[in-house]
């Protein structure tokens, strides 16, 4: 097998240029028109961003609905949307709009946020670079992952799902080059329910399941 080239990445967040939303209707309007990078940031890049990592919900829309609109029903419905389960960001956008529209139709009043609690639309650039590490043996993958940065875990296990082959992490794509021999590792990686984990937690879990798979071989 060719060695696995470990990459790393750093996230640089910026304002998107969209006006902040002060109520649910404005959120809907801006969300419907925002760029894919804004959508991707608020759904997927939250794990890598500088913020506390263990909130109730993984996406910013659900967090805002709960904390600043005070709408727990909406927060729960938005919070369960797993962006990695959608084939495309277009589908994710449609599903999100459906949830918001349903809530708007149920509500007698449009929920508002206080001044200062607006939803700020952001986007980010992911700067990717070679970490200078090569993994030559699948049996060593768990040990290497244990020592990886959050950036590497994010890039190879989460961000990878938006690259070809769509929906697959880089580790699995590498292991599939010798699918028969690497089945225990491939199954181990597939067993991880990753979306609700913080990156340090995900790193530990990936290392754990791979180490167990290695021990069971």
């Amino acid at each position: 097998m060719t060695p696995f080239e470990v990459k790393d990445c750093a996230l640089l967040v910026r304002m998107s240029g969209l006006s902040p939303a002060t109520n649910l209707r404005e959120l809907r309007e801006r969300f419907a028109a925002c760029s894919w990078s804004v959508l991707f940031h608020h759904y997927c890049e939250t794990t890598l961003r500088t913020t506390y990592d263990n909130l109730d919900y993984r996406n910013d829309f659900a967090v805002w609905a709960k904390l600043y609109l005070g709408d727990r029903v909406l927060a729960e419905r938005l919070g369960i949307l797993d962006p990695y389960s959608f084939q495309s960001l277009k589908e994710l956008r449609a599903a999100t709009l459906e949830v918001i529209d349903q809530r708007l139709s149920e509500s007698a009043m449009v929920p508002w946020a206080r001044h200062g609690d607006e939803f700020f639309f952001m986007e980010a650039t992911t700067v990717v670079f070679d970490a200078g590490i090569r993994i030559t043996q699948p049996s060593l993958l768990g040990a290497f992952i244990r020592e990886m940065t959050n950036g590497s875990v994010y890039y190879h296990f989460l961000e990878a799902r938006r690259r070809l082959p769509i929906g697959m992490d880089d580790f699995t794509a590498w292991l599939l080059k010798d699918e028969e021999a690497n089945q225990p590792y491939i199954r181990a990686l597939a067993s991880v329910d990753f979306y609700f984990r913080s990156l340090p937690d995900l790193r530990r879990e990936l290392a754990r399941v791979l180490t167990e798979a290695e021990a069971a071989k």
Binding site: L11, R14, T50, Y52, G116, F120, T125, T126, V127, A131
Partner: protein, 412 residues
């Protein structure tokens, strides 16, 4: 003098240091100039003190220049600073001219270096006029706003805005602090240096000496708020919360901050605090000299709970410092405190003295939560608010500015 990068390896791990070195390699030789208005004192100088040498260690040619000004100049820039944060301060035409003249005199000295630099970081409004003087610049100029300019006093903002708009990009600490500008506005929260005097580990005897110096009882819980005596830090509200708790638990309170001799409003707040604290030997109001970093460090380590009950706040680095000492923080639900304090995880956000008292009592009744939340707070700082993350984002920013513009994905 800041520590070398390798000194942080034991705190953040070798992978994080290696990551910085990999990013630094991509920028080797890049000429960086930071410009601010003071070499010592204040958060900006503290950041540049470590950032400049660490950038140098990573292979960049980084330098830090300070503009020279007269006392009237700094009075004007203080007014600009306050106005950008929303205070209605008028600045005369004559004073704007003085502001520009002082910048022009500094440009005579700094011009050649600024013209040759690949990236120039201008920190806050004091040196912002330098850009308009640098007609032959080769590099990118970035305005770093360390303050909240979301609701500026409009007449002053009308004067500052054209200066700022001419930059290639700006950096704010939080989205809530930014203004709409016609260039990329990056978001880079500040950070603390875990090896600074204010944050480094202290030996037990030194901590105990501070306890003894201020007559703190080791057998009773201690609440500590570190901040200047400013109405927005609500020290009187903290005393109210203390009184509510004191009815049922034998707590002690330390309110520690710098002296207020040259600040009339600070004096008035301090007088209110002294009045509210009068006669209670368990309220310790400490006026500390500006260089009392180790004392502050020890007080935070002695605390059972850190309080930062602000009603308005910038980023709130005293919160970060308290969390780094492994303490839960009860903080006002404002500004950057929200980014750091998460209910039931790293502390509690509160809006009133009653709310603060309630959360203090909750923690005193659940002592095991103090320790668990404190540990979670410390790990959160390790992950997000140490200088290594701050440095990484500056390096990423320079790569984005130089190579990528506003793309979503940049492979370097």
């Amino acid at each position: 003098m800041s520590a070398p990068l390798s000194a942080y390896e034991g705190i953040v791990g070798s992978a994080v240091i290696r990551q910085l070195r990999q990013l630094g390699e991509k920028l080797a030789g890049t000429r960086i100039v930071h410009v601010n208005s003071t070499r010592e004192g204040g958060g900006v100088a503290e950041i540049l003190e470590w950032m400049t040498p660490l950038m140098g260690e990573l292979g960049l040619q980084a330098s830090w220049e300070v503009i020279h000004g007269t006392p009237p100049f700094f009075e004007i820039t203080k007014s600009i600073h306050n106005a950008l944060q929303g205070h209605p301060v008028s600045i005369s035409v004559k004073n704007w001219k003085l502001y520009e003249d002082v910048n022009a005199r500094n440009f005579e000295r700094l011009g050649p270096m600024l013209e040759e630099a690949d990236v120039v970081f201008i920190h806050d409004p004091q040196p912002a006029h330098l850009l308009s003087l640098c007609g032959r610049r080769k590099g990118k100029w970035i305005w770093r706003a360390h303050i909240d300019i979301s609701r500026p006093y409009r007449p002053v903002w009308k004067m500052v805005r054209p200066m700022v708009e001419a930059f290639d990009a700006s950096i704010f600490s939080m989205a809530e602090f930014a203004q709409t500008l016609p260039h990329p506005q990056f978001l880079v929260p500040p950070s603390i240096d875990p090896l600074s005097e204010k944050n480094r580990a202290l030996e037990t005897p030194e901590i105990e000496a501070v306890r003894a110096e201020f007559g703190l009882d080791p057998s009773r819980p201690l609440l500590v708020q570190i901040s200047r005596f400013d109405r927005f830090k609500d020290p009187v509200g903290v005393i109210e919360a203390y009184h509510l708790v004191r009815k049922v638990a034998p707590v002690q309170l330390v309110l520690a901050g710098g002296g207020a001799t040259d600040d009339p409003e600070g004096k008035a707040v301090l007088a209110d605090v002294m009045e509210a604290a009068a006669g209670d030997p368990d309220i310790h109001v400490l006026l500390l000299p500006p260089d009392s970093h180790r004392t502050v460090n020890a007080l935070q380590r002695l605390a059972d709970i850190i309080i930062q009950k602000s009603t308005r706040e910038g980023f709130g680095l005293t919160v970060t410092e308290g969390m780094w000492k492994g303490k839960p923080v009860i903080g006002g639900d404002v500004g950057g405190i929200r980014l750091q304090v998460v209910n039931h995880h790293t502390g509690f956000l509160v809006n009133t003295p009653e709310g603060a008292a309630h959360r203090i009592r909750y923690l005193l009744h659940h002592r095991e939560r103090i320790e668990a939340m404190g540990m979670e707070a410390r790990e959160s700082v390790r992950e997000h608010f140490l200088l290594t993350r701050h440095l990484r984002e500056y390096l990423a920013l320079m790569l984005v500015i130089a190579r990528g513009g506003q793309v979503r994905f940049l492979e370097v």
